[in-house]
Amino acid sequence: MERNMTRIALFAALIAALGLIPSLTLAFGVPITAQSMGVMLAGAILGARRGALAVLLFMALVALGLPLLAGGRGGLGAFVAPTSGFFLGWPVAAFVIGLIVERWRTGPLAVTVAMASIIGGIVVMYGFGIVGMSIALNKTLAECAALVTAFLPGDLIKAVLTGLITQALARSRPASLLSRP
């Protein structure tokens, strides 16, 4: 009980920290926020249930008015912006990623986690993001889908990095991979 709670809390703090560290350059010198990678990592490392709870806890703190989103944003405004669909999809994305990593046990871990992150962190999360954007901007789903493709390269990089990071963690400390006890 205590262990699960502290792990959920510390991962929520990790998601916050990944958004606060300035200019954490992920790859090829493109400064993309590592925060949504924190969401992918939460699912991949903590598993479906704990990962989703860590993300929900983080979202609760944003709602309370803390500037924890990348760029120092936060507060209730995070729930009504044009990009809020993505934000609301975070816990579902973490859950789906966790579920896939828990169940799909064949093949190299890095590949499984990267695939899970693409399914959860791109397919599922973009689903939410596109619906949110279509409501906020009053555009059709297809038009919004075309708009969000701009985020695709960055998120593909994050999915691959999530795979590599999870694999490195599992290799150096197998006990840390709580999604596969």
Binding site: R7, I21, T25, L137
Partner: protein, 205 residues
């Protein structure tokens, strides 16, 4: 950690948080149902709301709206090309008004008041016999540990720079996650040693 509550004391700070949240929910819903002309009126009303709290406060509020400019630009171009200027203006104003209203509540409500609201919202769970202490403790822990994890990250980045000429990148995320999990285990042990987080439930082991 500093919350987004505005340091400028306004009249809205004195209104109960619950009332503000309820009004915000209704107003946001209304923004999506109103006619274009009424949206313009509502946006004007939001602007008056900000100005009633003083110029300093209004300027702060305006800064929080900066994240919208790519979307406003997009709408301007889109509706400029298709020639539906009025529809475009309505969408743009609705975006501005909805975000500004939500920010207004955040800027005028103290963190302690927001936490009180959340505790109240969790009350039904307590009725069902679930302890919400874990949630409250988890919130406090995130507040305490976020700056510490940022510091961990900065230290890892520094030690990376001491050894490499390249910039620290995603590689420091793995040790950051590992350190966070270590800290989680230490805190869990400390909590257990102090009687755990559920002292009201009889433990068998």
């Amino acid at each position: 950690m500093i919350s987004l509550t505005s340091p400028v004391e306004t009249w809205a700070h004195r209104i109960p948080a619950g009332a503000k949240l309820l009004a915000l929910s209704i107003a946001t819903l209304a923004l999506f149902l109103l006619e274009p002309f009424m949206i313009a009126v509502a946006t004007l009303a939001v602007a008056v709301l900000y100005l009633s709290a003083g110029l300093t406060f209004a300027a702060q509020g305006l800064r929080h709206l900066r994240m919208l400019w790519p979307f406003l630009l997009l709408i301007a171009v889109w509706h400029g090309v298709t020639g539906q200027a009025q529809a475009g203006a309505a969408i743009a104003l609705r975006l501005l008004a909805a975000l500004a209203l939500a920010n207004f509540v955040t800027m005028t409500t103290r963190l302690t008041d927001m936490i009180a609201i959340m505790t109240w919202l969790l009350a039904p769970l307590r009725r069902l016999g679930l302890s919400t202490r874990a949630v409250e403790l988890a919130i406090a822990m995130v507040l305490r540990f976020t700056p510490m994890l940022v510091e961990n990250g900065q230290r890892l980045a520094m030690s990376w720079r001491a050894r490499s000429r390249r910039r620290p990148g995603w590689r420091i995320v793995m040790p950051m996650a590992a350190l966070a999990l270590d800290d989680a285990d230490h805190v869990a042990e400390a909590l257990r040693a102090r009687g755990g987080i559920l002292p009201d439930i009889h433990r068998r082991n």
